[in-house]
């Protein structure tokens, strides 16, 4: 029989930065039961990596002490978490009733034309991911959309152009 090399423990480097790990540990300390920090931890990971890659979720699992399948199951339940890569800017257009009544259809058509992609897709240059959203609690400013963390309301096609041009220009990454 041949000689088998003793199996070494798997060593992998974390994708999460020490700062992200610190933020997750700080979140765990805020709750009576550290499991409550899972959503905050996933936010931290997504903010750093851009989306929840398997490696990012493995790191979250390791730091929080939860099984990976639990982490993945929770992550997949919530619409703000993306398990696939997204563009540098995420555009979330509300198409719920008040926005629909105030013309979100036209805004969506304009976004499709301008970006050349449909809901759920990312532009080839990786700049924008387009999403349709449920009510953003901004119905007084319908139609409304979130671009990354910023809310924009009373959208017209010109207003959308201004927002997109500014986002493209400042090169800011998602969640920065």
């Amino acid at each position: 029989m041949g000689y088998n090399e003793p199996s070494l423990p798997m060593i992998r480097t974390r994708v999460l930065s020490p700062q992200s790990v610190d933020q997750i540990r700080a979140a765990m300390a805020r709750y009576p039961e550290s499991r409550s920090a899972l959503l905050p931890a996933l936010h931290v990971a997504q903010r750093q990596v851009g989306y929840l890659s398997v490696e990012a979720m493995e790191d979250v699992a390791e730091v929080t002490g939860l099984p990976l399948n639990e982490v993945a199951s929770v992550a997949s339940f919530y619409t703000m978490f993306s398990l696939r890569p997204v563009g540098r800017h995420v555009v979330r257009l509300c198409t719920n009733i008040s926005c629909l009544l105030c013309g979100s259809d036209e805004v969506l058509a304009h976004l499709r034309r301008r970006l050349g992609v449909g809901p759920g897709e990312t532009t080839p240059d990786g700049a924008f991911t387009l999403r349709v959203e449920e009510c953003l609690a901004a119905c007084d400013r319908a139609p409304a959309m979130l671009v990354n963390e910023e809310l924009h309301g009373r959208l017209t096609t010109q207003a959308v152009d201004t927002v997109l041009d500014r986002a493209r220009g400042d090169g800011q990454a998602v969640g920065d």
């Binding site: 805020r30 709750y31 009576p32 039961e33 499991r35 409550s36 920090a37 899972l38 959503l39 905050p40 996933l42 936010h43 939860l66 199951s73 929770v74 339940f77 919530y78 619409t79 703000m80 978490f81 979330r92 198409t95 719920n96 009733i97 008040s98 629909l100 009544l101 105030c102 959203e133 449920e134 009510c135 953003l136 609690a137 901004a138 119905c139 007084d140 400013r141 319908a142 979130l146 963390e149 910023e150 809310l151």
Partner: protein, 418 residues
Amino acid sequence: MSEKLLTRYIHEPAQVNLQTFVLRGGYQGARRALCDLTPDQVIAEVDQSGLRGKGGAGFPAGFKWKAVPRDAPVKYVVVNADESEPGTFKDRLLLEHDPHQLIEGILIAAYAIGAHKAFVYTRGEFFRAREVLMRAMDEAAAYGYLGRHILGTDFDLEIVVHAGAGAYIAGEESGLLESLEGKRAMPRLRPPYPAQKGLYGQPTLLNNVETLCHVGHILRLGADGYKAHGMPALFSVSGHVARPGVYELPLGTPLREMIFEHAGGMHPARRFKACFPGGSSSAILVEEHLDTPMDYDSLRKAGSMLGSAAVIVMDDTTCMVKVIARAVEFYRDESCGKCTPCREGTVWMSQVLERVLHGHGRTEDLDLMAGIAKGMTGTCLCPLGESVPPSLGNSLRYFREEYEAHIRTGRCNVAVPA
């Protein structure tokens, strides 16, 4: 009309600063509660005020506060700042423009039930609201309104701001608690109610943002002084009105006055067609209901509900089939999938509505939808699944010919008036 309580300073940017808030009477209610009253006296005051929950169910606040066991060693206050009922935007306004009003309410609630830790569950998309609230909390802590020995008493309180991540069902109280515990936001079987067994299995007082914002005023003015303001409530008015916005008006204000006086009425040359009076989960109402007083009982008698007091107004250019199809699509996508009638019913109904909307419907489809709606009524674990049938039913009752026209001609017959 009496002075506004909750939104009086909402458009003045300095209101987010603690000193301005205090100069305008802020934290007086908390001071009275913590320094002059026993927890039971505070609960009695809230009870006598007649305050009812503003999150959607309208449960009497005093009842809920009394239901938390006195002797439990560990208790929590949880604030529902998930605000995701379509059409509702009052809580975001309160959080972004008057955060100390909420902190004061949390402080009073925590003192009343004997909790030393509170959690504010904000919906994930509320980036700005969280920023404003956390800054206000830092200021409150620096001035002795949070932390240890609050206002010189031996009462301690810590507040944690939590971010959700996009799930309508996380606004349902038991789904919210699951989510706050780091799980999928699947509703729990009740009883036990959160007051007995809530967060981490401990007694938990769970209230909506607006509900708690009333509490500081109740303690400052006394229950009677508060009631003299005519049971104020915040109404979110949106859709086809000239002036969409949050309106603080007494409960019982007629729907017509709300839409036509306060919100500025319809756009020029448009006519009122229908509205959701309490968010997209409330059954739509039509012209004949315009004189309904906007309160819990009157709206129930009219076959709808006050819900989150979110009035979504539709004028005569609105295709009802399209609106109902969009509403059902929302419930389909947000169903947590735990019970079959909700999970499957919303999918089937959505399929039927899509085909009617796009001109491939059949005459039998109308009865089929009514049948699906019936199958969902009374068979779901939480109210999400029950949200669909009432509006569908009313749209079939009042706008049946629109559905029929879609089926017959393959297109929408709602002529856009010139």
